[in-house]
């Protein structure tokens, strides 16, 4: 056999592979990923590469005439005390909101999926808190949670049970709690609506079959609804977790990170050092480290929830 003879089948094989309907379909499918690839490259990858570069320079956010400083910025962020202060509350907030919102949103979605008078309006009202600007929410909640006797909740407590004013935003622990409560208020409805959409993909026949078998509504919730919502839980909890770890504006408008450093977050630290204090290099380093850490957390979370999904399905 000649060399050519040996190669020919491989060549024609490759050719026929390339032109086979299956490959062509695969390529055409792959083309569906081109637009998101462009978005990813232009709006994420390239800017991120630049940030990575800034993180090893003394860039101050003003002058592009920068010097290479090696890992100096990375060393600095690990020795900055306000950074560590931000870490604790950021984690508490992210985990707290993820758990509480998930536990509240799923039953709420099931209820909103039922038929009742005024359902459309009720759905809308639950969704609303996700809409308005954070500045106005800060104002309104500041008034509601005011530590003074004239604050809305304190006034109510006094009128109902004669409780003295509670220092909602002026005590460290209570301020942390208050921020989380407002976050739960603002995102539970929207996540319930998200679950509601996923509920639509569960064929109604399943419930009918379960009912015929004599299952109680409680049983069908735990045996049908919950397992089939597994992909939804993955998506929703990931959104909550990433959003929680990146949180900035809600604590900032409510408490500016106080009292002391009680509600200080990592993103607030990035913004303050990057913009207000013109240490863009250091802020970039912080952002890079932060992304790696969050990436690790999310990877673990994804693996766990995929396993869970596999088990239930």
């Amino acid at each position: 056999m000649t060399a050519l003879g040996r190669r020919a089948p491989a060549l024609t094989g490759a050719l026929s592979w390339l032109t086979s309907p299956k490959t062509l379909e695969g390529l055409r499918l792959q083309a569906f990923l081109v637009p998101i690839g462009i978005v990813f490259a232009v709006l994420f990858a390239i800017p991120l590469a630049q940030s990575l570069y800034f993180s090893v320079t003394d860039f101050n956010g003003y002058s592009l005439d920068v010097n290479f400083v090696g890992l100096e910025n990375y060393r600095k962020i690990f020795t900055d005390p306000s950074m560590l202060a931000g870490l604790g509350f950021t984690l508490l907030y992210a985990i707290g909101t993820t758990v509480i919102v998930t536990v509240l949103a799923i039953p709420l979605a099931v209820l909103l999926n039922k038929r009742f008078f005024g359902r459309n309006v009720v759905r809308a009202v639950f969704f609303f808190p996700a809409i308005p600007s954070i500045a106005i929410l800060g104002l309104v909640w500041g008034f509601i949670l005011s530590p003074l006797g004239s604050g809305a909740i304190n006034w109510l407590l006094d009128a109902v049970g004669g409780f003295g004013p509670v220092p909602w935003l002026s005590d460290g622990t209570l301020a942390q709690l208050s921020v989380i409560v407002v976050a739960v208020w603002s995102s539970t409805g929207w996540h319930a609506i998200l679950y509601l959409a996923y509920l639509q993909s569960i064929p109604g026949d399943y419930y009918e079959a379960a009912r015929v078998d004599g299952a109680s509504p409680r049983q069908s919730f735990f045996r049908i609804t919950l397992p089939l919502l597994a992909p939804a839980i993955t998506v929703s909890s990931l959104l909550l977790m990433t959003g929680g770890l990146k949180v900035y504006d809600l604590p900032y408008t409510l408490t500016k990170g106080g009292p002391g450093y009680a509600t200080f977050t990592i993103t607030q630290s990035i913004i303050q050092s990057g913009i207000a204090q013109a240490k863009f290099g250091q802020a970039s380093a912080l952002a890079v480290v932060f992304m790696l850490v969050v990436g690790a957390i999310v990877a673990v979370q994804l693996v766990l929830s995929r396993r869970l999904e596999d088990r239930v399905s």
């Binding site: 002058s63 592009l64 530590p147 002026s170 450093y261 200080f264 204090q277």
Partner: protein, 420 residues
């Protein structure tokens, strides 16, 4: 499987109707765009303001009337963080406006980065007060034109004080504490000030100590000859008496400025720390209130105020319209411009040829400006202002809650400064 029967038409109609709306909107837009056209041969001068449009519009209109060949393109971002971020992003990319605002938060970076023109000796700077110009100068060169200043002190409800039997407002701190106790025992909440930012009471007390020590203590601290404790320990111990004696509630660390003003407007507190901007709001919220301004009482009986020169207007070093930018600043600092600005904002202008018209209640504030009895740490610090301010506020909150001592606050500031 009967997929084909699924509700395809509805999706389609949804999509098509969205696209139709989009197209309609786009059409309307282009229609508007061509209608507004940019008038032949006019020079566009871009102006990035943090005063809102309602304030600046009359000034811009008057200026354009006088200079028909210039078209001022106004844009705005709310102060402070959002404004600084937007300006910084644009400057580093070469799209900064021709005229913008220089403030304590960006002064050092603007000057070091060479983004602002040196205005020293320009004819329009002649009218400016020496103090205002010095605030926006670095190494003797002026980079900003500032036409007004502000001073803040204690605003009291005269009727409430009279009710408690007080006829004269004290100048000495000890007498002030006694007054607070008197009000408290009469069942009136004596004094309130939000501690979510730098408290004006602290600014005034530190300013008084600074003046007592010769007026340049900050320069010595930043040169490494003194520590923050040398300037801050005394005033902070004085201020802390408000909390250790229970005269002021610890809750002020969780109160916003607006909430404090509301308490005052409704007669639920006798005195608050306030600035000129609160007067306008209070006139609307409590039109009948009999309110009076006074300086913050100090240990030696010489009242002091919190205050600073207002941010200045600066010219972009890379502007292609230098002549127009200078013409604009000339107008803003002229008699006509300053008068208009004063009318719109009730600001205490400090230029040499205009006497500002101000609310009667603000006369003590104006006197304080003339006497130079005012101070604001963030403006007095030559650099790392934001980091120091953030640290100071967080530490003060801890002190108010009894978790830190005055000396701890000062030590934390020394640490911050060392980090740069």
């Amino acid at each position: 499987m009967s997929l084909r029967r699924m509700s395809l038409p509805r999706t389609k109609s949804l999509l098509t109707s969205s696209v139709a709306v989009l197209a309609a909107a786009a059409l309307t837009l282009t229609g508007c765009g061509s209608g507004s056209g940019d008038g032949g041969g006019k020079t566009k001068l871009s102006f990035f303001s943090w005063e809102d449009e309602a304030t600046m519009k009359p000034l811009i209109e008057a200026f354009e009337k006088k200079n028909p060949s210039i078209d001022v393109e106004f844009s705005h971002a709310p102060p402070v963080a959002e404004y600084i971020a937007a300006l910084q992003t644009r400057l580093v990319s070469g799209t900064g406006a021709d005229v913008f605002v220089i403030a304590a938060e960006n002064k050092t970076n603007l000057v070091q980065g060479g983004f602002v023109k040196d205005l020293t000796g320009k004819p329009f700077m002649a009218n400016m007060s020496k103090f205002n110009t010095e605030t926006w100068s670095v190494d003797g060169k002026a980079y900003g034109m500032s036409i007004s200043s502000w001073s803040a002190g204690i605003l009291y409800n005269k009727d409430l004080l009279t009710k408690a039997g007080v006829t004269e407002f004290p100048a000495k701190w000890d007498d002030f504490m006694a007054l607070c106790q008197k009000l408290k025992s009469a069942g009136i909440t004596p004094y309130m000030e939000s501690v979510t930012g730098m408290p004006l009471t602290v600014a005034a007390l530190v300013g008084h100590e600074n003046a007592r020590q010769g007026g340049d203590v900050d320069a010595q601290i930043f040169a490494g000859q003194k520590k923050f404790g040398d300037l801050w320990n005394g005033p902070l111990t004085t201020y802390n008496q408000l909390f250790t004696s229970g005269v002021m509630s610890k809750d002020v660390v969780g109160l916003k400025g607006e909430q404090v003003v509301d308490e005052f407007a409704n007669g639920r507190v006798a005195m608050i720390a306030a600035g000129p901007w609160d007067v306008t709001t209070l006139r609307e919220k409590a039109p009948k209130m009999n309110m009076v301004f006074a300086g913050v009482p100090t240990p030696d009986g010489k009242p002091f105020w919190g205050g600073a020169a207002s941010p200045g207007w600066a010219i972009n070093a890379k502007t292609e319209h230098e002549k127009e930018a200078e013409a604009f600043l000339t107008f803003l600092g002229s008699k006509e411009g300053v008068t208009l600005f004063n009318q719109k904002t009730a600001a205490m202008t400090t230029t040499s040829d205009v006497t500002p018209v101000i609310d009667k209640v603000l006369e003590p504030n104006l006197q304080a400006l003339k006497d130079g009895n005012f101070y604001l740490p963030q403006v007095a610090w030559p650099r790392v202002q934001d980091a120091l301010n953030t640290e100071a506020v967080a530490q003060l909150q801890l002190m108010v809650q009894g978790q830190a001592k005055p000396a701890d606050v000062a030590a934390a500031l020394d640490n911050r400064l060392a980090q740069g």
